[in-house]
């Protein structure tokens, strides 16, 4: 057991806070010497009023943009999980399917998701989840119309590969001892798949999901810089830079960091729970 595990919760938090505090201090010094850079307090002021319309920016409020970015990621990443996990399980289990899929996957994997955005816009245009509904109302206008399919498609692309590759890896590396034990016990293929292969591969699948989520966040911020939207943290970063409202740039970056931290912690907690056996078997 490492020394870190013996520490109490407050001291852990304190340790984790050291680096951000130092960074804040350096930032304050930097801002006081160079007036273009917003001071931490200016950024804090923006973060404390997340529901105000940003002045000089053609943008919805910060909280709204956060929500839109989160929704885009949730849909794109959710689609990636829902496609990559079943396909990965299948490819990991059935060798001819793996042989069909692998070369294409290896070819497609290194392509940066953002490179697909122009293609995605070509395919989906500026259609959004809102285009699926006839009726126009304020709610739709504010949220659904902002969920462009092109952006969701590139998030899907970014999230898919780490999840797929790790799922295949997880299935292939389920100990043959367990599979043989199950075979000798004479249980059905279905049961072997659901109760041996799936739980055996789960820790690896969750690792893939964590990686995929990180990539999804990188992708969405970059994708939001492209035209066709009026909301999103990436959009605020791009437009605030154009009109030199840098406190909004910084506020958005901090928001991304915080959301990333929360979501990654959440997935980590889940993987610690379901993968407890693997940690203990080490």
């Amino acid at each position: 057991m490492s020394a870190g595990n013996n520490q109490t919760q407050p001291s852990k938090i304190l340790l984790g806070a050291i680096l951000p505090v130092i960074l804040l201090f350096i930032w304050q010094m930097w801002a006081s010497r160079w007036s273009v850079v917003p001071a931490p307090l200016e950024v804090l002021a923006v973060l404390l009023k997340p529901f105000d319309e940003p002045p000089n920016l053609d943008s919805l409020p910060l909280a709204h943009s956060c929500g839109i970015s989160v929704l885009r990621v949730l849909i794109g990443y959710g689609a990636a999980v829902l496609t990559a996990v079943p396909l990965g399980l299948l490819a990991g289990r059935v060798s001819w399917i793996r042989r069909v899929i692998t070369p294409a996957v290896e070819m497609a994997r290194p392509i940066c998701p953002i490179a697909w955005l122009p293609v995605a816009i070509l395919v989906f245009g500026f259609s959004s989840v809102g285009s699926l509904f006839w009726q126009q109302d304020a709610w739709r206008h504010a949220i659904l119309n902002q969920l462009q399919f092109a952006m969701i498609a590139v998030i899907w692309w970014g999230g898919f590969f780490p999840i797929f590759v790790n799922t295949v890896h997880g299935v292939e590396h389920v100990k043959s001892l367990y599979l043989e034990a199950a075979k000798i016990l004479g249980v059905s293929e279905r049961k072997v798949f659901l109760e041996i292969v799936l739980p055996g591969a789960l820790p690896s699948i969750l690792t893939g999901m964590r990686l995929g989520l990180g990539i999804s966040w990188m992708v969405i911020i970059a994708a939001e810089i492209f035209p066709g939207t009026r909301a999103g943290l990436g959009y605020i970063i791009a437009t605030s830079h154009q009109v030199a409202e840098y406190q909004f740039t910084f506020a958005s970056i901090i928001a991304i960091g915080v959301i990333g931290l929360i979501s990654s912690r959440l997935l980590y907690a889940i993987s610690q729970r379901v993968g407890k056996w693997q940690i203990m078997e080490r």
């Binding site: 043989e180 000798i184 004479g186 249980v187 041996i196 056996w277 203990m280």
Partner: protein, 249 residues
């Protein structure tokens, strides 16, 4: 009950040559017999067991297992060298998983599971995960899972080689008790001569390169056996003689 006829099996070695794991091995095991197979590492005893279990197919020769009931093939239980318990399931779930193949009735399965765990003394650990158990308890749980579905044939591949002597000896008693109670046919593979003689009514000795049978000793000693008695030591010496002959030859 089990007839192994002229079985040969070879594997690819590391350097493109073939390793003959088993060469022309024949043996018979009677119903309800407790047979030990001893031999040094690499004599093919594990391969033999895997072939009997159906996990491996022989290159040549055949295996016959006569069923007692109406089904063609009697159920076979296999206890691996490592514990092979599914680490994401509790002990109870592991045993129920084994029972699910034979027992459609859920309540009946739970009852049998409880009985199995009681037999190996793990009633209080039913809800524990394998990693929460000691090595000895893991073996007990594995034993419970292996015999839960009451297989007619139980194959054991050095199941207690990783345990300390005291724990292993406790488990010998469990195995002997189960053999007595369920009239299972057991093939017990080990490299430990004392273990082989203590448990079995017959000991087959194997030798390496190629893996083959070099001798057979019948152990007609009354139970419980006394490891320090002259007849016991005598049997051990007989087995060792074959063992050494095989190693030298």
């Amino acid at each position: 009950m089990i007839r192994v006829l002229n079985v040969s099996k070879s594997f690819h070695g590391g350097d493109a040559r073939r390793v003959e794991a088993l060469s022309d091995v024949s043996m018979e095991v009677a119903r309800g017999e407790f047979l030990s197979v001893v031999g040094p590492t690499g004599c093919g005893k594990t391969t033999l067991l895997r072939i009997v279990s159906g996990l491996e197919t022989p290159d040549e020769g055949s295996i016959e297992i006569a069923a007692q009931g109406s089904s063609n093939r009697p159920s076979v239980g296999f206890m691996f060298q490592q514990h092979a318990l599914f680490p994401w399931m509790t002990v109870e779930k592991n045993v129920l998983f084994a029972l699910s193949a034979v027992d459609r009735d859920r309540r009946g399965a739970h009852e049998r599971c409880r009985e199995c765990l009681r037999m190996v003394g793990l009633t209080d650990s039913a809800r524990s995960f394998p990693y929460e158990l000691s090595g000895g308890m893991q073996r007990r749980a594995a034993l419970a899972r292996t015999v839960a579905s009451r297989p007619e044939v139980v194959l054991m591949d050095e199941p207690f080689s990783a345990l300390d002597i005291a724990t292993a000896r406790d488990l010998y008693d469990e195995v002997l008790e189960m053999h007595e109670r369920f009239h299972m046919t057991i093939i017990f593979v080990t490299h430990n001569i004392e273990e082989a003689v203590f448990l079995a009514s017959r000991v087959i000795v194997m030798a390496t390169s190629p893996g083959r049978i070099v001798g057979e000793v019948s152990v007609d000693l009354p139970e419980p056996r006394d490891r320090l008695s002259d007849p016991f030591v005598d049997k051990m010496l007989q087995v060792r003689e074959y063992f050494e002959k095989g190693t030298v030859g």
